[in-house]
């Protein structure tokens, strides 16, 4: 039903010394899809993101974005192509107010080129555009929150700020590294519609998650990693019935409780 895959990852391999972090991982993501990546701690999820976005160099393998090879490009070039990522450990600019944090991505070649309402240009200066994006992502414009220093914001807002930084680039793919982790239940509850909204706007999302319940609400397909190897892929319900997955997650034969 869906057209061409927007992102194809082929046989990615990465070793840190003697540790095989990723062993021939391949998958592809279709346009407009929410693709989940799960796996126990240390299974190589974040390494996979780092390889795709160029933050670390993969040993072998290939990443195709709309059929174009982006394998060995540096991170800023990949971001400028429209593949953005959030960091699991949030990386805001602590000494700047929240809305000024967005000046940096808005200053990038991509944001300046694409213009439009998110990229500045006719719609006022970058400050205004930054506040617009923050409002979209759940910072109340008329409150003090967007104007506070990032160092004084709580985790929930910092996670949103990470997403806002991606949105400022007008991306086509956002790779979310555990956006739900460390949040309270109510914060997560307000985050889920946000993710759904991004998908409705046509973005493709790859989500690394440990919170399976929320992930299953938003994700269409799922991939499971264990010790750097892909052990299952498919729709969530099927994947969680897979013997290998149960083994990896629980180490037993019992059925996994989710949802």
């Amino acid at each position: 039903m869906r057209s061409e895959p927007i992102l194809q990852v082929k046989n990615v391999r990465k070793a840190f010394g003697g540790v095989q972090a990723l062993v021939d991982v391949s998958f592809s993501v279709c346009e407009g899809e929410v693709f989940g990546v799960i796996g126990p701690n240390g299974s190589g999820k974040t390494t996979l993101i780092n390889c795709i976005t160029g933050f670390i160099k993969m040993d072998s393998g290939m990443v195709l974005y709309r059929g174009k090879d982006v394998t060995r490009k540096p991170p800023h070039k990949i971001a400028n192509l429209g593949i953005t990522r959030t960091f699991q450990i949030m990386r805001p600019y602590y000494s700047l107010p929240a809305y000024k944090n967005l000046i940096v991505p808005l200053f990038s070649p991509r944001a300046r080129r694409t213009g439009g309402w998110r990229g500045g240009g006719k719609l006022g200066d970058r400050d205004t555009v930054g506040i617009d994006i923050l409002e979209e992502i759940g910072f109340e414009r008329d409150s003090f929150v967007p104007y506070k220093l990032a160092s004084s914001l709580p985790t929930g807002y910092l996670k949103r700020l990470e997403l806002a930084r991606c949105l400022a680039l007008r991306p086509e793919i956002i790779i979310c590294d555990e956006v739900f982790s460390g949040l309270s239940m109510s914060e997560i509850a307000s985050m889920v519609p946000l993710i759904e909204k991004l998908q409705m706007e046509g973005l493709t999302l790859i989500m690394i998650e440990h919170r399976l319940r929320e992930l299953f609400r938003v994700a269409q397909r799922l991939m499971v990693l264990n010790f750097g190897e892909k052990i299952a892929e498919g729709v969530p319900e099927e994947v969680m019935e897979d013997e290998n997955v149960k083994q990896a997650y629980l180490g037993s034969e019992k059925s996994v409780e989710y949802a």
């Binding site: 990386r91 805001p92 600019y93 000494s95 000046i103 940096v104 991505p105 990038s108 930084r165 400022a168």
Partner: protein
């Protein structure tokens, strides 16, 4: 805070004008205008008054202070707004000084041309030299920048090029001391306010982003190498300008322009003046350079005095004079019952 004062604490309230956001002031009365204008005017007029009020011997020191102020501005900008701790002051001064001297003596260019050319070309050379080190952070970058002036000094000495240990003699001087002093004072004030403005522009925010979190800047689609080299270009340009000026003031360029003083004094001045304020480090130079001039008779023991001053400041007032002064100026303090 003594205990017998009971349950009291110090409360700080912003003094202030009615609307104060970053860089935008709503001014509605003379009091508010004065609140903003007086400190700035005091600095500018004070600097312009210096050549008029200083006794003869100290006239020459004004130029030295201003040259160090340029270096220190560059250091503070790199260290507190880009996150690169540079000990390359001596490199910048040396490159700028030698370039100006060569342009003047070998090519016969006048002072109006040598200084701008030495500034731009020197900044390009320094940036290219430091380009391989831009991936490094913190103390590693500092070590590389410290190494360059030492290496260049020894190369000039060993190969006996560029005048060897003699240096390049016969560099033209300024027409008179008024031109010499007022030109550099103007340059310092322009650079100071220019940099203060730059760090709050959008590109300045990118620099500060590089300092806070360079990985996030890369994830935002910006090449940190490019922005770091722009910043190094600005800082080394200031340093080379100072070096070129120094060559014309001395009428000589020599290996002492690669001396470590040019790398060390900016750090001391920044610590004393208050890092990250830009104006503080300039004031720090106005204190340290005259002291160092007074101690000229004791020779290299000067370094010991810097060390003592630095230690005292780091232990007792590590924020620096300007941060302290700004806090006192912008905020009320009062005791309140808890």
């Amino acid at each position: 805070m003594k205990m017998e004062m009971g349950e009291r604490r110090k409360e700080r309230l912003d003094r202030g004008i009615k609307v104060r956001t970053e860089g935008i002031y709503a001014i509605s009365s003379w009091e508010e205008m004065n609140y903003l204008l007086v400190p700035r005017l005091a600095l500018i007029l004070g600097m312009f008054a210096l050549p008029l009020v200083m006794p003869a011997y100290w006239q020459r020191v004004i130029s030295y202070v201003c040259i160090y102020a340029l270096l220190t501005l560059g250091f503070d900008f790199l260290a507190h707004f880009v996150g690169l701790v540079s000990l390359g002051g001596a490199l910048f001064v040396g490159v700028g000084g030698y370039l100006a001297a060569i342009l003047n003596t070998s090519f016969g260019l006048p002072v109006v041309l040598t200084i701008p050319i030495a500034t731009i070309a020197g900044a390009i050379i320094c940036t290219l030299l430091l380009l391989p080190a831009l991936r490094l952070r913190g103390v590693y970058f500092a070590i590389v920048t410290l190494m360059y002036p030492l290496v260049l000094l020894r190369i000039i000495e060993a190969l006996n090029i560029l005048g060897g240990t003699e240096g390049i003699l016969g560099v033209a001087s300024f027409p008179n001391k008024w031109v010499e002093q007022y030109l550099i004072i103007g340059i310092v004030i322009f650079s100071l306010f220019g940099l203060r403005r730059l760090v709050n522009q959008d590109i300045g925010l990118v620099f500060r982003g590089v300092k806070d979190n360079d990985q996030a800047v890369r994830a935002s689609g910006l090449s940190i190498t490019i922005y770091k080299s722009i910043a190094v270009f600005i800082a080394s340009g200031l340093g080379c300008l100072g070096g070129a000026y120094l060559a014309h003031v001395y009428m000589w360029a020599g290996i002492s322009q690669f001396a470590l003083d040019f790398s060390i004094l900016p750090i001391a001045a920044t610590v004393i003046g208050g890092g990250g304020t830009l104006v503080g480090p300039v004031l720090g130079c106005f204190m340290l350079v005259p002291i160092s001039e007074l101690l000229r008779s004791v020779g290299t023991l000067r370094i010991a005095f810097y060390a003592i001053i630095l230690t005292v400041f780091i232990v007792f007032r590590s924020e620096g004079i300007m941060v302290y002064a700004q806090r006192k100026y912008h905020q009320f303090e009062r005791w309140v019952k808890v």
